[in-house]
Structures are given as C-alpha cells and as structure tokens.
Amino acid sequence: MLNAIDKHLLKTIADLHDIPQGAYNIRKNGVGISRSSTANIEIKTKEDKPGIDVIIKPGTKGESVHIPVIISAEGLNDVVYNTFDIGEGADVLIVAGCGIHNSGEGKAQHDGIHNFIVRKGARVRYVEKHYGEGNGRGERILNPQTILELEEGAYAELEMVQIKGVDSTKRYTEAKLGKEAHLLITERLLTHGNQFAESRILIELIGQDSSTQVISRSVAQEDSKQIFYPRVVGYNRCRGHVQCDSIIMDNAQIRAIPEISANHPDAQLIHEAAIGKIAGEQLIKLMSLGLSEKEAEKTILEGFLR
C-alpha cells in the first residue's frame, strides 16, 4: 500500500519508517488511505468538507497523533480542513507534515487548514514539516493555515520546518491566548532556486498573564524570496517576544515587517529582527579547523536551522 517513494516522504516529514504507533491518519493524493484511533484519541472524517476531526479526551497523557500527507501525483490541488480538540489537562504530541513528490509538469498543491482548540491546562506540541522533491518541472506548492485558541493555562508549542524543495508557500498562523496561556512558535525555513515563502503570524494576547515567544530562523539562497509578517497584539498584562533571524546569500531577497502593538499599559512586547550574511569570522574559524569553505558554510547553516 505504501510504495518506496511514499515511505521516503513519510520518513522525511514525520520520521516514520512505516505505519506509526498510536493514533494516525495517512492521506495520500487527496484521500485518506489508512487510519487508527485509540481509546483516548478519536479520528473521524468531517461530514461537511474534506478533512478530519481529531478529538483528544481530557487527561490523555503522553500519546501522539501522526497525520502525514503525501502527494505523489501531479496536477492535484488538495485542500483539507483538520480540527483538533485537545481536552482539558491532556498532554500530547501531534506530528503533521506534507511531502510532495512531483515528477510531472503540472503543479501539485496542498493547502492544510488546521484548527486547534487547546482546552484548559492542556499541553500540545505540534510539529509540521514540509518537504518537496521530484525532478519534474511541476511546481510544488504548500499553503498551510494554523488557527489556534488557547484556553486558560493552556500551552502550545508549534515547530514548523520547511527545508528545501517547496516552490511556493504562504503560511498563515493565528492564535488567541486566554489567561496564563503560553504559545511558543519556532519556525525554520530554507529557500533556494526561485522559491518563494511568505509567513504571516498574528498572535493576540487576550488573557491576563498570557505570553508568547516566536523564534524564526531562515536562510534564503540563490534567487529565492522570503517575506515575514509577525504580529503580536497585547490586550492585557502579557508578555510577547519575537525574534526573526535570517541569513541572506547569493541574490536572495528577504523582507521582515514586524508589528507589536500594545493595548494595555502592562503589555510587554519585544521584537528583534536581523538579516545578514554569514560572518566571515565564522567561516575562517571553521576553515582553520580543517573544513573547506563549502563545508564551513554548510555547518554554519545546519547549526543555524537546527
């Protein structure tokens, strides 16, 4: 049922060698091909539109959900709506991700729209990896949307990674945080060739003592373009910290347009943004340890995007 290409994509995006343990849903070329629920995690097909509902019972601890998407057909435009309901006090790992193998001429596109409700005191770690391959000329396009609502004391960690292979991506992430909720977003992006990547983030700190940290690291190589629009809005006593750090190379272009806005005297919001090339001293140091210039560059980028 899973061929060699599928398995390779699964391994890259979800670190899976085969069918995962625990709850999972594997979607291939626009249809679900394999699914498993567990006693605490129920996965069911949406009735009104394509996609799934993932319902995690309150108090579920230490379980994981894998929902990889693989696309190996060209000319496909797959739009999917997934909803995650993470019950009170639960603590789970959700591994999503999309791998596209496009060896044709037509484009292959996947737009995943993910809605999360993280209920009181629940914790979730959400990992989303994007990967594209295939030597056809067909474009590989991914436009993910992640919409979160964090209730009182909820904690969410989003890890979003896209290293090479995706021609065009427009990412949108939106979150509303309740009292004492915390959201950590780490984003890592590498573009090359003529790729284009845009990331918009809107975080609204609504509840008292809610807090967020956004760490974005990106590398733009060759003729690629990147645009970042991180926004944090504080409506209460809250803390927000956004760090955008980019390495620019070759003829690439990077724009970072941050916004922090405070609507409360006790809102503490910080934004740091930096774009620059690899420091010459770093290359020299690694070369003086015996690496070639190319190896030194690779080591610096790997560390930066780790």
């Binding site: 750090d245 020299i284 070369m287 340890l289 015996g290 080591t299 930066f304």
Partner: protein, 250 residues
C-alpha cells in the same frame, strides 16, 4: 620548523594601504615554546593570522618544514597541523560545543570532548550540549576556543591572548594545560600574551612593536629586559601621556 622570511603585510584601510608588518624574519623550531608579546597594535595577531593563512602577506615567504606554504589557503594549512585560537572567537547560533569540538578533532576521530573541556576548566555536563552563541560568557567562549585547539594534533599551535577573561582561580590550571599540551604535541607552541606567568613558560620571547620584531631571545635574556626596562619599549620622549594617566599593573 616554521620559517618566515622578509615578510611584510599591508592591508587596505580607510585611508588607503597601511603597513602592519614590516620585514619580519623569524625561525621557530619544533618542541619549543614561544611567546609573542608587545604593545597593543604591535602586530602580534596579524602575524598569527599570516601564519594561519587568514592574511596573505604582501611580501615575503613562509616555509613549513622546508615546504613553501605562502600560497596555501587556511584549510590546507589546517590540514598541515597549523592551528590558531582567536583573540576574539566568533559565536555560532545553533552550533553546540560538542559539534565544534568534533569538527576540531576531525570527523573521523572519536572525540573525547570531556578531557578537552576539563583541561580548560569547564564542567563537561554543563557545557557539551550548549550552543556557542551569545549565551556564553566571554571567559567561557575563550575557554572553548582553547579547547578547539587542544582537540587537534597540531604541529604549530597559536593561542592569541588565551588568558584574557579567564579568572584568577583557573589561571594556574590553564598554565598547567599549556605545559602538558606542549609536551605532548612535540610541535611549536606560540602564545600571544602580556602576562608574566605566561612569559615564564617560554623558551623564547619575541617582542613585536610597530609591526617589526624589536627584540627576541631566550626567556632568561628577555624577561629582565621586558619587566625591568619598560623605557626601551616605550621611550619616554615618544610618550604623549604621563604614567599617572593610566593604570600600570606591572
């Protein structure tokens, strides 16, 4: 053996080309411990960088065990066993201490990070997983920089002001480490330093000022000159400020 012959270095500054090193002639022998010393801006780091291949000399040649290495690049010199610990080491976001030491030791060797960190007085558990980024203090970064040289099999090891930022308590341990490493490696050790306790380690001391070698000789010959006769290095008639305008530690 490292031989530097008629070496000059010009760099392009804001006001055109400036000469930083002038007509340097120097022979450094295996198994010997050298200390380069001299006033700030005298050319010590620049000479070290020329040996490492970071700066290309404008004139002159460098021979390593009889081979002309003047045109070799940094990587090639590293492969010959030349190493340089920076005066101001760069920081790397995301690169761990362990990874950096692994690179230093060469990727094929099983690295014994623990010993090198111990040698520079850092607790292994606390540091192997840390990133070599802004979170490290100045002294910690210097110690890790020294460890990157200890991890290698070097024929020429150059440490640029290794004691800078290292606290008093660790200083003796560091001195001990340099002594041991030098004895182990059978190569040339060069330390750039202003510290008497490091000058005391030297077989030979080389005094650099204004981009030239002002004086050189055995420790026994040089130390009294350096410590006693500051006048010779900074003649009073050329001094624009009185001694009381600065804090003199010696």
């Amino acid at each position: 053996m490292l031989e530097i012959k008629d070496l000059s270095l010009n760099v392009e500054g804001e006001k055109g080309s400036v000469e930083i090193l002038h007509n340097i002639n120097l022979t450094l022998e295996d198994n010997k411990f050298y200390v380069f010393t001299g006033p700030n801006g005298g050319g010590k780091s620049s000479l070290a960088k020329v040996i490492m291949g970071i700066y290309k000399p404008t004139q002159g040649k460098i021979f390593f065990n009889g081979r002309d290495i003047t045109d070799l690049d940094i990587t090639e010199r590293a492969h010959l066993g030349i190493g340089y610990a920076f005066q101001q080491p760069p920081r790397f976001k995301g690169l761990t201490v362990e990874k950096l030491l692994q690179i230093s030791a060469g990727n094929n060797k099983v690295v014994d990070c623990c010993n090198y960190l111990y040698d520079v007085g850092l607790c292994v558990q606390d540091y192997v997983g840390r990133e070599v980024d802004n979170s490290l203090s100045g002294g910690e970064l210097k110690r890790i920089e020294i460890a990157t040289l200890l991890a290698r099999d070097l024929k020429v090891a150059i440490y640029d002001e290794p004691e800078a930022g290292i606290d008093l308590w660790s200083f003796s341990k560091l001195i001990e480490t340099f002594r041991n490493v030098h004895a182990r490696q059978h190569g040339i050790t060069i330390i750039i330093s202003h510290q008497e306790r490091i000058l005391n380690l030297a077989d030979e001391i080389i005094l650099l000022a204004d981009g030239t070698i002002k004086q050189q000789g055995s420790r026994e010959y040089m130390l009294p000159l350096l410590l006693g006769d500051i006048e010779r290095i900074c003649p009073r008639d050329r001094m624009e400020r009185g001694e009381d305008s600065v804090e003199c530690n010696r």
